[in-house]
Amino acid sequence: MERRKERIDRGIKVRAGDVFALSSWREMLYLLAPRLIPVLGFLILPLVLNAYWQKVLLSVAAFALLAISWDILAQTGMVSLGQSLFFGLGAYCSGALSHGFGWHPLLALPTAAVLGGLLGTLCLLPVLRLRGVYFSMVTLIIPLMLVRIVEATKIFGGTEGLSGIAPLPSKWIELYLIVTVLLAALFGFRRLMDSDYGLVLKAIRDNDRSVINAGINIYWFKAQALFIASSLAALTGAFMTHVYMFVGMPVFALDYSILPIAAAVVGGPGTLAGATVGAVILVPLSEALRGIGGLRIVFYGLFLVVFIVALPEGIFHYIQRKYHQFERWVEVQ
């Protein structure tokens, strides 16, 4: 007697997907809960945590933004192995504006986001035609090259970096700024990826030739996606510059490339929410594992492998499925 698992949508999901959602509190709650939990969580947590864990929350938000930026690129079919490129460009832009011209951080942040985004897009514009692994290889190489260039030409302080960069006005502005940016990016870009515009981006990933066939200029769309993703990561980089009050060669480090990918893969690629979930799990975990020092990156590497092989859909898709559907065993006829 062979059996198989059958998945059926829950009744409440079917009802809540319709106009009847407005007819009962239970269904409204069913729809709202998954959205309210992250929002309330991120807004309330800064108030209840102590100073140390507030810093951890800060890096959770920063890595979640990097992972979202990675995911936007991945959904357009460009898998980047060098998120630190965008992060570093934003960090250096903001650092230079703040250090060189004495700009106020709140003014330097958005400028650095746009400037860093533009520079990041320009760096990758020549290789926009590359597909798959070839694009990934280039993104792996460029940050390494920028490090060497900074080292060789000694611009922006060379190996020493720029220190003494103006911090943000207060700790609370710092925290709520990054949390607001994260929530806005998460929900805003989720909406964007569900719109017709996002459909074009996803179609480029699925089959770029048929998108060309439909008379759409895929390079223009890819450049736009690149700009969106890189300015998001550049904003994060600029923000972290003002938090650390320092910018130097470590901004191009492997950490900023690997952790976002690990977060997105663990959380579940393709939803942006998954990337956030991944960062929420991995960053505090890495804080808890701080005692083992360099071994952390070993664990990220193993996490990547285990999740890619055993749970390629990621945690978010898994939870989403359990939330919307129930499973039962049925006999195979």
Binding site: V133, L295, V298, F299, L302, L304, I308
Partner: protein, 290 residues
């Protein structure tokens, strides 16, 4: 100085060719971009070091064991990880990158860095060519490079297994209909690639010392050579190693050693931007770019 630069350019090219040939073989045959390549290189180096220095095995036995064990590790990596994500190029990249990262950072954590972590040179002597001193180890590397290229060519053109390798490289499904088990061949190609990495470590490491950051460097250099030469093309590997090898040495002597890495990275970007299939890669152009 000029003659010296030329000679060292040539020797440097041989080092690059030996480093890159394993990566190139694996990618050319099974399409797996083995980002754990640098980690395999370092793994085998530490393994031979441990066997030779701590367990005091004879040199040849230590080296052979470590090459075989690295091949085994590659085969296991294919069997337990890559096989499950086969065909999804990006999942393969992420998985192998994760494995490589884990291995390299583990060694980094263990902190085995220093001058004592090196393998012995076979002949501790040199020879004067013109007014340039060249040590025998570098000449040995050049010899190994030549032997490897010739050996691989003979292997892929004149043995049953080698022909099967080329078969699945050209068309996996057709190869299947001819009774070539593509999964097994792909496993062998990954294992052979890792074995070549181990062999490269055996001859190249004596020139410097073993350190985990060397692993990333080897991966980047192998990528550079393979991308410029055209992934999967042996002739391309030779030409590209010559290009990068000479470019590196000339920037080193006439500019500054800071710019050495930048030159090879810039060369990759240039080639990828203009001709992503590399100088000699002709097949699969549509898969590479659009």
């Amino acid at each position: 100085m000029f003659l010296g630069t030329i000679i060292y350019g040539l020797l440097n090219s041989a080092v690059l060719a030996v480093m890159a040939i394993g990566f190139n073989l694996t990618f050319g045959i099974s399409g797996v971009a083995n980002f754990a390549y640098g980690a395999m290189y370092i793994f085998s180096a530490y393994l031979s070091w441990t066997l030779f220095n701590l367990l005091e095995w004879p040199y040849w036995l230590a080296v052979c064991t470590s090459v075989l064990l690295t091949m085994l590790l590659g085969a296991l990596m294919y069997q337990f990880v890559l096989l499950r994500v086969r065909g999804q190029a990006l999942a393969e990249v992420i998985a192998t990158f994760g494995i490589g990262l884990a291995i390299l950072e583990l060694f980094h954590y263990l902190g085995l860095v220093g001058f004592e972590y090196t393998l012995p040179v076979l002949v501790d002597d040199g020879v004067m060519i013109g007014d340039t001193m060249v040590d025998w180890q570098r000449i040995l590397v050049t010899g190994v490079a030549g032997l490897l290229v010739a050996g691989l060519w003979a292997f892929t053109h004149h043995t049953r297994l080698g022909l099967a390798f080329r078969g699945i490289a050209q068309d996996e499904r057709t190869a299947l209909t001819l009774g070539i088990e593509s999964d097994r061949i792909a496993m062998l190609s990954v294992a052979l690639g890792c074995g070549l990495a181990a062999l490269a470590a055996t001859v190249i490491i004596p020139l410097g010392s073993i350190s985990p950051s060397e692993g990333y460097e080897v991966l980047i250099k192998a990528l550079a050579v393979c991308i410029i030469g055209g992934l999967g093309s042996t002739g391309g590997v030779i030409v590209a190693s010559l290009v990068i090898g000479f470019a590196e040495r000339f920037t080193d002597s006439y500019l500054s050693s800071h710019w050495t890495m930048i030159v090879s990275l810039a060369a990759i970007l240039l080639v990828l931007g203009v001709k992503p299939s590399g100088l000699f890669g002709r097949q699969k152009e549509l898969e590479e770019r659009i």
